[in-house]
Amino acid sequence: MRHHRKTIDEILKEHVSRASSEEVASVGERVLYRLHHATARQSLYEESTREIVAQRPVWNRRWAVLAAVLGVIMAIVFSRISWRKPSSPVESHVAVVEFIDGALRGVQKEQHRVMQVNDTLEVGESVRTGSGAGAGLALSDGSRIEIRAESELTLERANDGTRIRLGHGSIIVNATKQGAGHLYVETRHINVSVIGTIFFVSAAESGSEAGVIEGEVRVRRGESEVSLSPGEHIFSGSFVKERLFPETIAWSRNARALIALLAPPVQTPPSARPQRPSFEVASIRKNPSGSTNGGIRPRGDRLVATNVTAKMLMAYAYKPKQGQLLKAQIIGGPGWTETDRFDIEAKIGTGASSTPVEQIQAMVVSLLEERFRLKAVLETRELPVYNLVLVKNGPKLSADQTPGDPRQAFVEFVSEGETIPALPRGAVVMVESPYGTTLTGTAIPVSMLVTLLQGRSDRIILDKTGFNGFFDLDFRFAKDSGAIAPTDMTIPFLFTAIQEIGFKLEPAKAALPVVIVDKVEKPTEN
């Protein structure tokens, strides 16, 4: 057997699926967001059905079943008797008044009547709401209409459904699935057709407008037709899609639930942010040196990138505020994005020191989009990581726990045999030899260790130690790759070596930001 050496206890410990805190938090956020939307939908439904349900007589279930059976028998008998007869006339009433705030008048054939809750509306009958009033109608297909003050509408039968002719004012329609038919709202300017959705229509002398809260509607003006999605809004005049602002539907008695439905997703992709800053001017030249050393850094009022690849630029541009963006987090793109190197000098405009890093990053995104024709999407994906955790009691604390000067938290690279300089607290000296690396330092925070380890790891290292103190560093580890094999077999590899100073790297998975490169072109040099 393949895994005969392991006990079930070990297999369970190793192979039972576990989630990182980031993944759990992100799931929680998503589910809570969806539940919130479900609540909004439910409250909308309950608000509109509460009164009707309250009016319904409570039937004994047995009688209800009996009635249903009788109904089916009657329907069969009736259909057999009348199958040769012309189709029955259209049902005369099309809606019931669900609620009235203030006054609602019905108008038919110039006859006016004051309407009450539960009154029915006949085909062709109009209803008008007074100033400061509002009303709700339930259509026979289950759709619901909320009518704003000072509005007038007429309900009509269309060839394949129901038509609401909106004379003036505003309505919000919560349309049920229409099956084969349609629900139409017609104003003198536009015609809105729906299959099942929540939307808003308003009509005035000067023009009409429509907006979608949930689902999709088609709006026709003359020969032109557009589809509106949630959050989109259109005026009959310009007939150009615009954003539906919550204020437009704030008059509704269900405004809170409707606006919640309109709420944008929790995270907006950075690509959707308007007016990203860009460099005043930028020069790009190919670097033919063949060297693999390069970097990006602000200098004066410029950003200078020397001998960088396109992916190095992407890593800089999309680096999250906390942590790094490794090569493994940039997915896609042709081979030259990792091999071809460029020198770039770009004018920031103001002094680089006074420009926030996020703004410079956004400028690099603009440069990539304009000069490299980059099309990329930011997503979150589950990637393999290492969690840095404590072993037993963790590292030995430095005698002096006052933090070192952050400006002195540097790494001094020294070759074997060279004199090791005296270093301030918080700094690390790295001695490289063909067979191994030695790290020493005093009053080191975990963040420094993560930085040191990250340079030698193909996976992101996440600090899961919860350790906030400072420790002294002195350990040696063997190179685990390269042409020269370690001759001194007593030197442990990095993963083992860090356990000696109280840390451990555990393989895990975590939801991390990734950049998906959809399209990128070689830049034009200047």
Binding site: H3, K6, I11, H15, V16, E23, G28, L35, H36, V266
Partner: protein, 177 residues
């Protein structure tokens, strides 16, 4: 287990419901992930359970012991997912569950995981509840006993039997413990 701070997504959200979700979603998601081995299924399980509670009066058992109720709900819903998945898999490809020898490390890891998940889904609900507390949430015997209102001896016996059953189902030799 590290704690996670959820940003406040909603305003006007039912306070009691919101608190219930925030207090227990981690336990439920991690449990569902342990049973199903799939983050998508685990997310579905979490959402389904809370959707069922939405807009309703909480059941008395939930009011009495929310943590225990929701933990059990997560185990039950996850096992249902696994059982229905097994039915679907058997319809699609009856040989899919048999072992495929592979030298590739990651494929082998996946294969063991898939066999393990399948074996877990064939245990009874009570055994899975104990197993997940032990191996997903790293509870000690005493903590499991306290959480489920059982004796430590009963927990030990259940874990021993579960491991033996998993061993048999996975056809693994060399189980020591």
């Amino acid at each position: 287990m590290p704690t996670v701070t959820l940003p406040s997504v909603t305003s006007g959200f039912n306070q009691e419901f919101d608190e219930l979700f925030r207090q227990h979603y981690q336990l439920m998601y991690r449990t569902a992930l342990g049973v199903t081995g799939s983050s998508e299924d685990a997310e579905d399980v979490l959402q389904t359970i809370f959707l069922r509670l939405l807009g309703r009066e909480f059941p008395p058992d939930l009011k009495k012991n929310p943590r225990g109720y929701l933990y059990r709900a997560a185990v039950n819903a996850s096992l249902n997912v696994m059982r229905s998945r097994r039915r679907t898999m058997q319809i699609v490809d009856p040989d899919n569950l048999s072992a495929v020898v592979s030298s590739d490390e990651s494929e082998r890891h996946q294969e063991i995981q898939s066999q393990l998940i399948d074996a877990i889904s064939r245990l009874n609900t009570g055994a899975v509840e104990i197993l997940m507390l032990r191996y997903v949430h790293n509870y000690s015997y005493a903590e499991i006993a306290r959480t489920l209102g059982m004796s430590q001896g009963a927990i030990a016996v259940s874990l021993y039997r579960s491991r033996a059953r998993i061993k048999k189902l996975m056809r693994v030799s060399g189980e020591k413990g």
